[in-house]
Subunit: 201 residues, 4 copies
DNA sequence: GAATAATCGAGACGGTACGTCTCGTCTTTCC
DNA sequence: GGAAAGACGAGACGTACCGTCTCGATTATTC
């Protein structure tokens, strides 16, 4: 199953790999995603450009891996309230709670850049898609757990639509920035979702 | 208010202006937004690059103007059913009904490109925002008309959240392409929205 | 005959052109030809790389033009003695007399580099050839003037061979550096040539 | 004198050594010297790059060794005529008679490449010099044998100059390719040399 | 026969120049 | 003064080799 091909030759340098991811995040802390450059990453990481191109296709791939590496595992809390769970979910996704150092600008800028890149580079889209799908599945499981499992109430299609509405609203605000992505918003979102689920047909 | 500046000298060539917008749309029909280039637009339109930069800031501005020029006025139908109205709205926005010629790939690619640009170019973001706001206001007015005006039922904040959910879901699918943006989706969306509005607190 | 094509558009910047040639010569004064870089020339000249590639094919072309621009016209002195003329010719070619400033290392290094490039880059060879041909023709005319015109004495083929011997010896010493390229050498060369011409068959 | 260092450990693989030299020559048969690459040699020879760098400094060193390995010993024929000897000498040097297989393009391309490298790489120059010196000494001995030994006729300096003229002419034509390096040329060269030696002062 | 040591094929590494591309500006000539 | 043409400075792109390094495997020698 595993293609254990690289048995000979020098092994991939983890130092270089982590250095590149770290450099990407640090540069994203100081400049916008659009200003990020493979050249700059290589310079900052003290690495040859070829070492980046050997393992990634472009800066979007690097940033995506930096994000997944950096992001803690997606295990949303299992509380009683759907509102709380959804809010926690958004917090985890957008990184409302800023980290230390390089994370100054939050994960938001990073996510926006990746979404932009997925639009401009068709080759990157599926990789970004896969990242997104994990989140979608997680949110979906939260909704299922909160009592939308009965087919009589909500069909699978409706469930997917609801996931799109929730995540869609989040991304919409994230991308456009016309309104804050705060807890109140998450609560309102969850409330509307709950009412949609419990309303009589 | 009116800066009556261009009183002397040659007048702006409408031929050039329309040629540029037309060239941009035609090129977008053949290639992706990311591949679009100011140089290519100028070449295709038989125009000097300076003529473009004199009136627009970058390709995103050109494309945005081409879109607004091209897009028919936003006047969604006023039917009895919220579902129908929402579906019509989406059709008008995304251009589900493909046009002829340059519009082969639909407006979808164009919108995705503009959203991407708004993420990467901070200067373009507000202009794109303005374009978006018009749509948001229109959808909001549709919702209001369909009986969500009573403060007892839905607060203004909730209404905004609902708009974000509807438009968000649409953009989410548009940008990620994980599911079709068809009429069924529009109907499902509208149905969930209606139930959220009518459910008991 | 003259392709008077570029009638519109910005004209070629002579400032840039001369700046590039000057930068190339200055860098050659400080480093060897092999160390010379298009990047460095562009940086030194304060010029975009594309401006170099627009008018030249590679660094060899730049250096060749810098050399011809810099070299004064080839008009060897017309003295009575063949020895003197040949010596003067070599002096003019190799640049035994060092110039001021950028010419510190003499033209020698430059010529060696161009000859090397002509071996490595087939596309450059004919351009270098043309440069060489001018010199060959000039030396040949010197020989003719000094009494080798009588077909009874020297055939055209022999004359060519003699030119190859004279220039060949010069280049041989220039390229290998096993012996000095001084006036004594030039005199000895001319003496042997004169004897070869005047010897009985 | 002998640095009996490698007393323990694995011995140098002659298979690898010969494979590298063979690969270099074969690649030189198919491409120009300038296109030759250490990477390509290693790949073609099925050898690690380090194995090349352990024993040679760069591709010029490899090619030079391939040449000396490949070249038959320099023992020019001792005939009565100076013309014949010189012609034979050139044939042996340039390899006018093409070999079979890898030698398709003759030794010419190889020699040109080495001369070019000697100009660009100061570290390689002396090694190439040594190769050249052997040839020079051989040609010189030929001239001496043919009666130029009497100091009354030709001084040592003049003899050196004559060698430079002969070899110089050959290299000049080899490098520039403006005229063929055939037997007629060799004969003409030898004839002029003979006349220069026998002419009265 | 184990320990030591040097070589081997493989291939990743840091570095650097390459030649191309697009950007947004500037200059020229024409209208 | 606008427009078409096109050169300009700037700088990132992705590729190609360079010469070095790290692997694990393979011979030799030495203890």
């Amino acid at each position: 199953m595993s293609d254990a091909r690289p048995r000979v030759g020098r092994k991939r340098s983890q130092e270089a790999r982590l250095g590149i991811l770290k450099a990407a995040l640090e540069l994203l802390g100081a400049h916008s995603y659009g200003e990020l450059t493979i050249d700059a990453i290589a310079r900052e990481a003290g690495v040859g450009k070829q070492t980046i191109y050997r393992w990634w296709n472009n800066k979007a791939d690097v940033v995506l891996e930096a994000l997944t590496e950096h992001a803690s595992a997606v295990n949303p809390p299992r509380t009683e309230s759907l509102e709380t769970d959804v809010a926690a979910f958004f917090r985890a996704t957008v990184g409302l709670l800023r980290g230390r150092g390089a994370d100054k600008r939050g994960t938001a800028a990073l996510l926006k850049g990746l979404m932009a890149e997925a639009q401009l580079d068709p080759a990157f889209a599926p990789r970004f898609q896969a990242f997104i799908d994990v989140r979608r599945a997680a949110l979906r499981s939260v909704l299922v757990r909160h009592g939308c499992a009965r087919p009589s109430v909500t069909s699978a299609v409706e469930l997917d639509t609801l996931v799109d509405m929730l995540f869609g609203a989040m991304w919409y605000r994230l991308l456009l920035g016309h309104a804050p992505l705060d807890t109140a918003f998450a609560k309102g979102l969850a409330g509307l979702a709950a009412r949609a689920l419990t309303a009589p047909r």
